[in-house]
Symmetry: C2
Subunit: 190 residues, 2 copies
């Protein structure tokens, strides 16, 4: 079965971005590039909520996304690797007119459960926590990866929201990264 | 100058305890005992707020505190090491009648600033974040240490509250602990 991975670069107080979306505190090193390159090589599906989709659209072309875009472009040139497909979950959006991006208006959990059983690569769940909150609560997120930065932001977009019950993980990796960052990886404990 | 250290065992979503004070998820290993023994050997002052003092009083004698108490008792038997003194910060408490515990009703920042300049050992800031929030905001916390447990609690007593501005740290240590825990240590970046 395909795995769903959630996470990203976070502050020490676990924000993905500041309250106004600030990501100027991110330390983007070769170390991170290498990690991301390995990860993205296996991903063929991205899941995100409406808000994250809006941010991702706004970020297109920024320094932070150029690396990902370059990696994806390089990947799409190779015939053997599948193309990347993005599913945006929203009950309010009417339509999305962009190649490779599909709007999902129904039950996210049911959709992801079905998606995981189809053939394919890794599934990457991106975002600011609301979609993640429900998918984590439903036991559909298999892996969590955090690159913890050595800074308190105080407020912002939290990586974790209350799933309504405890969720236990197994630590699968832990290492110090460039710039005082700490990379931790977890697998859902079933 | 004496250093103030803050932190403790936290869940992956950075709670020191559950919403009702639950700490049954804590993994108390020999690894942790060793870390704590080394740390507590140098501590001669504990700072805490009123709420934490109430919890600490309630916890006296529990499995979790026995180790600390045993270490402190052993320590107090050695004449060379100074006795442990606890300062409880509160504007509502009238008095505390317990040997070694002193009530501080005035300005916490001014008190701690003065304390740091006196001769003595390490200062340990314990608690649920409200006193820590103001001392971190005032740049009075020199070190942060977290033993991150592989579990999401969802709600609880947060280790970090909004200090009102960004606070940058330098990573001084990072290692995997028993039970899938990750120990991270930071020094305030000045």
């Amino acid at each position: 079965m395909r795995t769903v991975t959630y996470g990203g670069a976070v502050s020490l107080d676990l924000f993905l971005a500041g309250a106004a979306g600030e990501i100027d505190w991110l330390h983007f090193s070769k170390d991170v590039q290498k990690e991301m390159a390995v990860f993205w090589k296996e991903v063929d599906v991205i899941l995100m909520g409406r808000k994250t989709y809006g941010v991702a659209e706004g970020m297109a072309g920024s320094d932070e996304t150029k690396e990902v875009e370059a990696a994806l472009e390089k990947k799409s040139r190779k015939k053997k690797e599948p193309k990347l497909r993005t599913y945006v979950f929203s009950r309010t959006l009417k339509a999305i007119d962009k190649p490779g991006v599909e709007l999902v208006k129904g039950d996210a959990a049911a959709f992801v459960r079905d998606l995981k059983q189809r053939r394919g690569g890794r599934i990457c769940l991106m975002g600011g926590g609301e979609l993640a909150q429900s998918l984590i609560a439903d036991g559909l997120v298999d892996e969590v990866g955090l690159n913890i930065h050595p800074i308190l932001l105080g407020t912002g977009v939290p990586v974790f929201r209350d799933p309504g019950h405890r969720v236990a993980f197994t630590l699968t990796g832990c290492r110090q990264m460039d710039g005082g960052c700490v990379l931790v990886k977890y697998a859902l404990r079933r």
